[in-house]
């Protein structure tokens, strides 16, 4: 049977991908950020997931303002890195476990989560930066070491789904994966955050104390984290910090009692506080 072994929370700041793509990760600005992912990359090599269920948000790339699905599941055979305005990132095409993706789609809809199904989709930095951060440099002619099932969540137009809804969706994703017959090691990534505001006069907001509390809740009290209101995210973590609801999907797919293997927190990457956590299921 397929099983969910671990969850990863990770920011997906585009500048992190750009730093890797242009080979400047050793520069003083970037070094402390990337040092903090060394252990994570070793951990990934040990864990060797077969499939990553990757929760992220599209940044007006696959979806512009004309179509805004709250949850969209990638069911295509593969997903090309998109041109976001400066050419596609030089990373591999993302390959799906299409059969598992279809199974999850069917299971979630019957579990009353009304998904949008994407049979063609390009993926932007929201999806490829977490893969780059966790795997290190992988060239465009190579393969990502795991198959990837993308789940896009709308966090651009308010309101995104509630933290509670995301947490429950995560539980449903877990049920779907657990009922798939192939023997697979599946990891789930929740991406985005942490505190950041990209726009207008309050841009640059960072709330380290809040972010630290959120990381603590991820480990110790996921139900408490699922009850954080949209207003609290907006006010305390900046208008773009609200994308942390996506971490709740990851958390919902894990056991309530988990082992925190690792965390890393760094300010700044461009405008953003970068947060990262690795949680393993005990069962």
């Amino acid at each position: 049977m397929a099983r969910v072994t671990a969850g990863v929370g990770c920011s997906h700041v585009p500048a992190i991908g750009a730093a890797m793509d242009t080979g400047i990760t050793h520069e003083p600005y970037w070094k402390p950020l990337f040092e903090g992912f060394k252990k994570s990359r070793e951990w990934m090599k040990e864990q060797k997931p077969d499939v990553i269920f990757l929760v992220y948000n599209d940044h007006c790339t696959a979806f512009d303002a004309s179509c805004i699905p709250t949850f969209a599941l990638g069911c295509a055979a593969e997903f090309k890195p998109a041109d976001e305005g400066w050419g596609p990132r030089p990373v591999p095409v993302v390959k799906n476990h299409q059969k598992l993706a279809s199974h999850i789609a069917q299971s979630l809809i019957l579990d009353e989560f009304d998904l949008t199904i994407m049979n063609e989709m390009e993926v932007d930095h929201g999806l490829t930066v977490p893969l780059s951060v966790m795997y290190g440099d992988v060239g465009p002619d190579e393969d990502w070491p795991a198959l990837v099932i993308p789940l896009c969540v709308n966090v651009v137009q308010y309101p995104p789904p509630t933290g509670n809804r995301c947490y429950n969706l995560g539980k449903a994703v877990r049920r779907a994966i657990n009922s798939f017959e192939e023997d697979l090691n599946v990891m789930i990534f929740g991406t985005g955050g942490m505190s950041h505001q990209l726009q207008y006069k309050r841009a640059g907001l960072i709330n380290k104390e809040w972010d630290t509390k959120f990381l603590d809740l991820m480990t110790e009290d996921p139900v408490g984290a699922s009850q954080i209101s949209h207003l609290e995210y907006l006010r305390e973590t900046g208008s773009e910090g609200i994308e942390m609801v996506m971490w709740l999907i990851m958390r919902g797919a894990l056991d309530e009692d988990v082992t925190e293997v690792y965390r890393h927190y760094h300010v700044p990457a461009s405008n953003t506080a970068v947060g990262h956590i690795i949680l393993e299921n005990k069962t």
Binding site: P14, A15, H59, C60, T61, D64, A65, S66, D83, E84, G85, W86, V156, Q157, Y158, P159, S195, Q197, L198, Q199, Y200, K201, R202, A203, G204, L205, I206, N207, K208, E209, W210, H230, L231, L234, R235, E236, G238, S239, E240, V267, P268, S270, N271, A273
Partner: protein, 130 residues
């Protein structure tokens, strides 16, 4: 329009359905610049290109004047306007330097120093004294 609970947050627009409706054509113009073919067309003849997007006159003026804050005030969203800014050679961080009125260097220094603190930046009433 009824007061919204998040309108009390200073220096912030929450891009909700009302803003999305107001800014639709402005945002669709901005996002079109994701593609090179459209950037070439816009850069070759700005006026002709803008005619394809039925924005209000105010919105169009904001575009022509590269008034990044006014675009947001008129329903623009940062993920969209950032594509327009990229065409102008302005990245996210430098765009923030402009929108905050701090300038690129002071903004970058603030981020290196840990960012804008949350204390004093939660509610509009806290900004009145400044």
């Amino acid at each position: 329009m009824a007061d919204k609970e998040y309108d009390d947050i200073p220096g912030t627009f929450v891009f909700d359905a009302d803003r999305s409706r107001e800014g639709y054509h402005l945002n669709q113009f901005c996002i079109s610049l994701r593609l090179q073919v459209n950037r070439d067309a816009f850069n070759a003849n700005e006026n002709t290109y803008l005619d394809k997007y039925p924005m209000t006159k105010e919105q169009r003026d904001a575009v022509v004047n590269r008034d990044w804050n006014l675009m947001l005030e008129l329903g623009g969203n940062i993920y969209y306007t950032a594509k327009f800014a990229a065409n102008e050679g302005i990245n996210f961080q430098n765009l923030a330097g402009k929108m905050t009125g701090m300038g690129v260097e002071a903004y970058r220094d603030m981020m290196l120093g840990g960012g804008r603190p949350i204390d004093g930046n939660r509610t509009k009433s806290e900004w009145k004294d400044n």
